[in-house]
Amino acid sequence: MRQALLIAIVFITTGCGSALGQRVRAMQSPVHASFSAEIHDARSFADSVGTIAPTSSALISLDFALQPVERNGIGIAGRLIGLGADAPGFAEGSILLGSRRFAVDLGLGSRTGPDPDKPDENPYDILFPFAKIGVRSRLNLGQSPLSVQFRAARHAGVGSNEFDSNFGAPDAAGWAGETSVSWTRPGSPFTASLGYRIERFQAYRIEQELSALTVGVGMVFGRR
């Protein structure tokens, strides 16, 4: 229900904003801004004492980025993934160095991970802060309204997590990668995307894998 409501809000906002978007696009802004909401049809695995079996869940992702289109500069980005107590949660903010075409992604975030006492029962109960370094790229496919995106990042745990256990240091670390193809309606900021995201995470030597087919809608402002 909440997911449907969120998607409805994004659709309404996108439709109402198209005239505004046109004007903003006409300004040929050298800054590229994107806002999107995605549904992640996720498949997750957690390494535990029991049987390795996938768990399916639907996650909501909210994503924004603000960065130069062509010239190198500094941009910002942020993302929230999750929704629901039993689903993995993920939040991060980034500084982007470069342009929309290619940028280095430096950020901080936090992710829910396994409780080492009961990893099968509580796979996403503990919050692990992390730093990340990665790259992201968004390239147009010629003059068509299509573009492709790529993101990859290495995550490394930082600080201390809230769980005090006898399992030693969590040594949280992980990788995340993502590709997608987007269609942007000509003359409007409306955009839709289809993508794939995979993430590997490990804490207390307990591995988790999360892969998802992503479908999203959003708005893009500034030059393509």
Partner: protein
């Protein structure tokens, strides 16, 4: 020294009982009248002596005074009595007269056939001369109107051109030109072509006369003092070329293929390369949906290559036209406002030195 000389002459006139004294407010006029009377009384030597004394302070004389004095001297140098005639010196006086007043005529009081002929010869031999002969010493001038007409004369038909140049400046701005004629009336302008030509300061008023037949040119320079601050004008905005989008589309199929291919390949690489490495990897298979996305990217790439054709970018054309229209509106508004300010520009022009 000249002032002292004139003072002595004035006191001499005042103390000496005049034989034919007429009410004169200007003592110099009285002195000139003495020279004229001497010529009329056939006392040419006295006339020449007194006239030359007066001419030694010629820069203090008004143009009309100098003209009358030189005519009197010419008559004294070339009297009817033969033997005392000095035609070259008389012609020299005529030439000086014609330099001051190119349209001058020999006063009847000095006229006789020989002197008439000599004056005609002098007029023919005199170099080209042109002068400004303003009717008023000062006048107000608005940006949206021309000044009162300023009469100009030359010693023969010429093409006149009236210009101004700020003192110390190099740029000459032309106000008006005439067709070939010995006389014309020209006007000054405070504003022309969206530019302020006259504002507070001192200027040279340049009268250029070009004889189209003989090809010689003369320039007469006088001075103007102008009061009136220039209006503040808004710079006319320029169209930013960086905002204009390319309106022609050039296909880049290989570039699209490379981008799409790499992105599609990356999908398969991360789907396998970023998987967990322990039991999860060994006891499960990779997510097959990565293939769906990878193939979707390939399909999108193929469509993009097919759609990427040479032609006109209609959206760029439309957006450029909109940008140009907005720019035109800004230019029109700025131009209109500047024109209003220029039209309201008001100066007072004072002629502070006659051309010589």
């Amino acid at each position: 020294m000249r002032a002292l000389l004139l003072a002595l002459l004035f006191s001499f006139v005042a103390l000496r009982p005049a034989r034919a004294q007429t009410p004169q407010s200007d003592p110099v006029d009285a002195l000139i009248r003495r020279v004229v009377n001497a010529v009329n009384d056939l006392r040419y030597t006295d006339a020449i002596r007194e006239g030359r004394e007066l001419l030694s302070a010629a820069s203090s004389l008004r143009p009309q005074q100098e003209i009358r004095l030189r005519f009197a001297l010419a008559a004294a140098y070339f009297p009817e009595a033969e033997g005392v005639q000095s035609p070259d010196t008389a012609v020299m006086q005529f030439e000086r007269v014609l330099r001051i007043a190119p349209d001058a005529e020999l006063p009847a009081v000095f006229a006789w056939s020989g002197l008439d002929s000599l004056f005609t010869i002098a007029r023919a031999r005199a170099p080209l001369a042109a002068v400004i002969r303003p009717n008023v010493d000062s006048f107000a001038l608005r940006g949206d109107s021309a000044s009162p007409l300023i009469p100009v004369v030359a010693s023969r038909p010429v093409r006149f051109r009236l210009s101004t140049r700020r003192i110390g400046g190099a740029e000459v701005t032309h106000s008006e030109s005439s067709t070939p004629s010995a006389r014309a009336e020209l006007s000054l302008r405070a504003v022309d072509g969206g530019r302020v030509l006259l504002e507070s300061g001192e200027y040279e008023l340049l009268l250029t006369a070009v004889d189209p037949e003989r090809g010689d040119t003369v320039r007469n320079v006088s001075r103007l003092r102008v009061e009136g601050a220039a209006p503040a004008l808004t710079p006319v905005p320029m169209l930013d070329g960086a905002r204009i989008r390319p309106e022609t589309l050039t296909p880049h199929p290989w570039r699209i293929a490379a981008v799409g291919g790499v992105m599609s390949l990356a999908t398969f690489v991360i789907a396998d390369g970023m998987r967990a490495t322990g039991r999860i990897a060994t006891e499960s298979t990779a997510d097959s949906r990565a293939g769906l996305v990878g193939l979707s990217i390939l399909g999108a790439t193929g469509w993009a290559i097919w759609a990427d054709r040479a032609g006109t970018d209609a959206e760029a054309v439309r957006l450029n036209a909109a940008d140009r229209a907005v720019h035109e509106q800004k230019v029109t508004a700025v131009t209109k406002e500047n024109a209003r300010r220029l039209a309201a520009h008001r100066v007072t022009v004072q002629l502070i030195g006659g051309g010589r």
